[in-house]
């Protein structure tokens, strides 16, 4: 019998629709894989095997009754624990939300359930999505299923969507939701040899997604193939009046229009991304990507994004500023943790609750954000950063006059070991150097596996597109996927 956990989202959907296997069998297989790996990988914060089975049973019943099936019918998925799920603990991997069971369902997760997907559980992440290695979760590190050859040192699955990336790479789910504020879908996808797309800002509703930096936060799918990402994004995207920044545009049928024929397309190579000291493996995979896209018929052109070096410092003003404001809501009054020392007044309760509930990285960012927004410093830091952000977005506009998509590495290296970068916050921030610019400009961007480095660890390539041109991004991703023929997978040790 087929090993159901090895199947892609499209294969599962097709097999369920054709009656080759039952959705319940698929859910049972993945539930077993999740349970088997939980102790070693810690990819989930809570597991919901009954929810996966119930959704699958409904799909099987609908099929038996001859009812039309949804885009995600019979596909069990992991849900990043940043999406509010009704009646199921939603924590953003923070102690301050421990035990919080939302009374409502986020728009994106509801759309996925309506499309026939089932929930295997809530996936671990960096606390409040702040991190690049999944080491800031209050529920423990996620361990990547990948290892260096002959070495059992635990590697980072990337962050913040590290539970999502680890679970997909380990075949615990065929697909999962991610969210991307500065690279939190793309970098973990690259670290674990899977695909993930952050759509144009506003494509997916933010309603019911725990807010980090609202002008940057965007949900997207993570899966093993470009086609799977396209299908799942169709199910997630769409106008939502409950989100003021939601795009009121039709959702294209991206998966049906997928084409790896890039004749007539121009691919821009940003010269500023050729950093001094870029690892030889990453540089080589980038060159491979250029050759593959040429082979797919595209013309390669040199482009300039002159303000690239300012993207990270801009991000580390804007994102903490927005976070300090968004996270003001955690006050010990309405939900989550309350720490009320003896004799404390209301102000003491706020301060004690937030001290006990937030992890060190979250506190660090709240303090930075509070500082850059405070009287006397607002213009020097925050307004200046927003002006530089305008220039960064303008760089992309100029570049897209000469090309249709941009090709770059996703991250400056393959996965690092846990603990390797967590001592110095700045060094950790530098991991997002290639992913942050597209976030600041609100552009669609995806990572696809491109090969492995000298140690056999996956490397990703990033494609950045014009606003609303997810199709162009997915098509270029497909062209790379077909030529890279990435087949490496972590050997099961858990």
């Amino acid at each position: 019998m087929t090993n159901l956990t090895e199947l892609t989202l499209a294969e599962i959907r097709g097999g369920v629709a054709a009656g080759t296997f039952k959705a319940v069998e698929v859910a049972e297989s993945f539930n077993a894989a999740v349970a088997d790996a939980q102790a070693a990988l810690n990819a989930f914060i809570v597991t919901t095997p009954e929810a996966a089975l119930a959704a699958a049973a409904k799909v099987d019943a609908d099929r038996a009754a001859g009812k039309p099936l949804g885009k995600m019918a019979g596909v069990p998925i992991g849900m990043k624990d940043l999406f509010a799920t009704k009646g199921v603990q939603t924590t953003a991997a923070s102690k301050i939300l421990a035990g919080f069971k939302p009374e409502y369902e986020s728009t994106v997760s509801q759309k996925l359930w309506d499309a026939g997907a089932g929930m295997l559980g809530k996936l671990n992440l960096d606390q409040f999505a702040m991190g690049s290695s999944n080491e800031t979760s209050a529920f423990g590190n996620v361990i990547s299923p990948w290892r260096r050859p002959g070495d059992t040192a635990p590697l980072a699955p990337g962050g913040s969507s590290g539970g999502s990336s680890a679970a997909i790479a380990a075949r615990l789910c065929p697909a999962a939701t991610g969210t991307d504020t500065g690279g939190s879908i793309r970098q973990p996808a690259a670290f674990t040899g899977i695909s993930g797309i952050k759509p144009t800002y506003g494509r997916c509703s933010r309603w019911g997604v725990v807010a980090f930096a609202s002008s940057l936060d965007q949900a997207g799918p993570m899966a093993r193939t470009v086609t799977d990402c396209a299908i799942m994004l169709e199910a997630m995207a769409g106008f939502d009046p409950k989100d003021a920044t939601s795009l009121d545009m039709p959702v294209p049928d991206w998966s049906a229009a997928l084409s790896a024929d890039l004749r007539g397309k121009k691919v821009g190579i940003p010269r500023e991304y050729r950093l001094d000291g870029l690892s030889a493996d990453v540089a080589k995979s980038w060159d491979d990507g250029i050759a593959w896209l040429k082979d797919a018929g595209a013309e390669v052109v040199d482009v300039s994004l002159p303000h690239s070096k300012y993207a990270l410092p801009t991000y580390y003003i804007i994102a903490p500023a927005e976070a300090s404001s968004n996270l003001a809501r955690y006050d010990g009054v309405r939900y989550g943790l309350r720490d009320l020392p003896d004799g404390a007044n209301l102000q003491d309760m706020y301060a004690a609750t937030r001290a006990a509930g937030f992890g060190p990285e979250v506190k660090r960012r709240i303090l930075i954000g509070t500082y850059v927004l405070s009287a006397g410093f607002y213009d020097a830091y925050y307004t200046q950063a927003q002006k530089v952000r305008t220039l960064i977005a303008r760089d992309f506009e100029e570049a897209f006059k000469q090309c249709d998509v941009i090709l770059a590495p996703t991250a400056p290296s393959a996965a690092f070991a846990l603990g390797e970068k967590s001592a110095d916050p700045l060094e950790m921030y530098l991991n997002d150097v290639f992913s942050v610019p597209a976030s600041l400009a609100g552009l669609p961007a995806m990572s696809v596996p491109a090969g492995v480095d000298a140690q056999g660890l996956p490397l990703g390539l990033q494609i950045i597109g014009r606003p609303f041109d997810e199709q162009g991004v997915l098509n270029a991703g497909l062209a790379i996927e077909q030529r890279a023929a990435f087949s490496a997978k972590p050997e099961k040790w858990w």
Binding site: A355, K387, V388, L426
Partner: protein, 100 residues
Amino acid sequence: MSVDTATVAKIASLARIKVSEAEVQAMVPELNGILAWVEQLGEVNVAGVEPMTAVIPNTLRLRADVVNADPLTGGDIRDAVLANAPVAEHGFFGVPKVIE
């Protein structure tokens, strides 16, 4: 610009996060490292550049003037609103006494 222990203590108080003296001491060099690094933005010529307000142009919509048009964001759900409160009494959020 750099911060000292008094500034960090003041920011923490503004952010309503209780910090110990030792934590403040540890945070000063960390925050100064980050601030020194973001300071490079000062060298960018931004003459005549407007600060970004919306990353993707969008229009601000008005919702229909209908009460509870969307039950998910409408009212009359007091019990649901209070369901996750650490302390809820008599249909209200409970907090420590705020009047002396």
